[in-house]
């Protein structure tokens, strides 16, 4: 589904990603872990197509198509989704209206008519129930005055509505208490199928107790330095990143 080859990216001439290689297949859950400043969020933003990041080298192939030159909205139309670490507040546009615009713009790009209002409402109801969201929440301005947990739940609600092929969850666990964490992870798990995939980016192993990865990758200083199964996450939680740094030095 996603193949990243030798990806280099810079922001303001400072190189952050220094040759990333990653392959994610349908039905898989991958986790990327790493300390602060290792380039985790940059990787998520570059895949999603944020313009401030300049991709200087390498390829991003999504569903057999090189997408490096595509705009963020075009990538979204192809089935990419990024759950933001810091979702942006948009006062003046309700959650419901925002979702209607996003879905209908995506349908337009795919050559489809607008979704009938009745179907839209039904879908909104179903997906908001999945995430245990209050209906009042849907008529509030997007992310405005939302708590950290509400913002993250709203991100996963959007993911549920847009039904992407690949979802990148950037620090989705930050700011969540244990109950919200369970609801959000439960939502993500229910949305999993053999045809879609999830890339979880996280600082802590905690989220991976709920969204269990098939593969764990360690990102250090702009490179994936180690990959393994879910047991790698436990080891990182217990021992930190120093042992990996030592291993690197030894090489």
């Amino acid at each position: 589904m996603l193949k990243i080859k030798n990806l280099h990216a810079s922001v303001e001439d400072k190189e952050i990603l220094k040759g990333i290689n990653l392959e994610i297949n349908a039905g898989e859950v991958h986790a990327i872990m790493g300390p602060n400043g290792s380039g985790k969020s940059t990787l998520a933003s570059v895949i999603a197509g944020k313009e401030e990041y300049e991709q200087t080298e390498g390829e991003i192939i999504f569903e057999n198509e090189e997408i490096s030159e595509l705009e963020a909205d075009e990538r979204a139309h192809k089935g990419l989704f990024l759950s933001f670490q810091y979702p942006v507040e948009i006062p003046g546009v309700s959650v419901t209206n925002f979702m209607k615009t996003a879905i209908n713009e995506t349908r337009k790009a795919q050559g489809l008519e607008d979704m009938p209002a009745k179907d839209m409402l039904k879908k909104i109801r179903e997906k908001s129930e999945l995430l245990d969201m209050d209906r009042k929440f849907l008529s509030r301005s997007l992310n405005e005055g939302f708590s950290g947990g509400e913002k993250k739940r709203n991100e996963i609600f959007q993911m549920a509505m847009l039904e992407p092929k690949l979802s990148i969850l950037d620090e989705t666990d930050s700011g969540l208490d244990i109950d919200a964490l369970k609801i959000v992870s439960n939502g993500v798990n229910k949305l999993r199928t053999k045809d879609n995939a999830v890339l979880v980016i996280t600082h802590y192993q905690r989220l991976l107790d709920y969204i269990v990865p098939d593969y764990v990758h360690v990102l250090l200083n702009g490179k994936i330095v180690k990959s393994g199964g879910k047991e790698l996450a436990y080891k990182l939680e217990e021992q930190g990143y120093d042992w990996i740094k030592e291993e690197m030095k030894a090489l």
Binding site: G49, E71, F81, I103
Partner: protein
């Protein structure tokens, strides 16, 4: 002939049409003298630095329209907030139109200035309030000199106006250029409430210059909400002068929606003459082409424990020009004042201009005053967020501008009006939002 000279000579003709042996006419004559001395403001005046009247003053305006011109309701229905029950006071080329209006004298007065200025029963109100709130600027003086018609609204003590009042000023374009000077007076008694919607609308592309003065008096604990819709033709210019005097614990708001017209200048001033007063001014400006909108505001905090809130937003495209000059004056006695002011602007085109000048003059030491002004493009992070959800750049930009402007509407208390302005904003931005408003 210069417009000033034409106005001075027209004043003699005006005096032949009205009763000159009245106290009101003494006020008019005084005002005319004042205008003769001061003339129209120019860019040399500090308050007019960014707005020149030169181009609109050179038209050959008719001062007195020939006759009342009947217009059909169906032709102007769209300018009414017609989906609610309201009192309406309609003027066509400055002359009252009884067939389009629905005035009242039942419990409240929503009627005509011409009656108020001439009938004995209104004499005490006129003596007490007429021309007592508006400062003696040259434009106010000019309006006072020719004051004859407009809306007169009088809400007695402890009375809540049962429905909103709409004031509509149409100009037909029968004259190739027309100058109008409506004069409104709104007196709201102790603990009384009223909501007013006002609109100036020309029906053709002929030039119109309106120099309007509205005085609003809010007694103790009164509540007044005033909404101005300014969405006029490309050759219609408006100088709106609105002054609000508030007594203790009263709550007044003025919302100004400026979406079109050649030149629009809003002089809006609040005078707080009691404690625990709340004053709110909000504005949304969305203009393009060579349109020009200037908001010149003043809140005069005179007594302690009062609040004022100002929130003006503007979106400027093409070569349009915006001005925001917001003054907050806090007197030494006005301790515990809370005054907030914000002015946020988006320049869509690199040829558009905004001149934003907040002025805070604070003589009290125990106050909380804040002001902020932003001028910019749209937030890049917000753009990326929307695009990452599949919304293309053009639509994302429109949606963000809509959200930016729409956010001011939450304080509009008439839902139908809120919806109407909502739609006007979406139309102005030419947005297909993908949802119904």
């Amino acid at each position: 002939m210069e417009l000033k000279d034409k106005l001075i000579s027209s004043f003699f003709a005006f005096e032949e049409q009205i009763d000159v042996n009245s106290e009101v006419h003494n006020i008019r004559s005084e005002a005319m003298k004042n205008f003769e001395v001061s003339g129209f403001p120019s860019r040399k005046d500090e308050d007019w630095k960014y707005t020149s009247l030169k181009s609109i003053l050179k038209e050959d305006y008719s001062i007195f329209p020939k006759k009342e011109d009947a217009i059909e309701y169906k032709d102007v229905k769209k300018y009414f907030i017609h989906d609610i029950d309201a009192y309406t006071i309609v003027f066509i080329d400055g002359i009252y139109s009884s067939h389009l209006s629905q005035t009242t004298h039942d419990k409240i007065d929503a009627c005509l200035m011409s009656s108020a200025l001439t009938k004995d029963k209104y004499k005490p109100v006129i003596e007490k309030y007429f021309n007592k709130i508006a400062p003696k600027t040259s434009l106010n003086s000019l309006n006072t000199a020719f004051s004859r018609e407009g809306a007169f609204i009088n809400i007695p003590k402890n009375t809540v106006a049962d429905k909103p009042i709409q004031i509509l000023n149409f100009s037909t374009g029968n004259e190739s250029a027309l100058m109008l000077q409506p004069r409104n007076l709104v007196v709201v008694g102790e603990n009384a409430h009223v909501q007013i919607i006002e609109r100036h609308q020309s029906l053709t592309d002929n030039a119109v210059l309106t120099n309007a003065v509205t005085e609003i008096y809010a007694d103790k604990r009164a509540m007044v909400d005033y909404y101005k819709i300014q969405n006029d033709h490309a050759n219609a210019s408006l100088i709106d002068n609105t002054y609000v005097e508030q007594q203790g614990e009263s709550n007044c708001s003025v919302h100004t929606f400026s979406f079109g017209g050649k030149l629009t200048r809003n002089n809006l001033q609040f005078f707080q003459k009691g404690e625990h007063i709340d004053s709110t001014m909000k504005g949304v400006t969305i203009i393009e082409d060579k349109q020009h909108v200037d908001h010149n505001t003043l809140v005069h905090h005179i007594e302690p424990n009062c609040e004022s809130h100002q929130d003006y937003k503007g979106i400027y495209d093409d070569r349009s020009v915006g001005v925001f000059n917001g003054k907050v004056l806090v007197e030494k006695e006005a301790q515990k004042t809370n005054a907030f002011q914000s002015n946020n602007n988006i320049l869509v085109s690199d040829k558009a201009t905004i001149n934003s000048k907040p002025q805070l003059e604070i003589f009290a030491d125990d106050v909380a005053c804040s002001h902020g002004c932003t001028i910019g493009q749209l937030d890049e992070d917000a753009m990326f967020y929307l695009k990452s959800r599949g919304i293309p750049a053009k639509e994302a930009r429109a949606l963000l501008m809509y959200a930016f402007a729409n956010n001011v509407l939450s304080s509009v208390k008439i839902p139908e009006l809120q919806k109407r302005v909502n739609k006007l904003i979406a139309n102005k931005l030419n947005v297909s939002l993908g949802f119904d408003l």
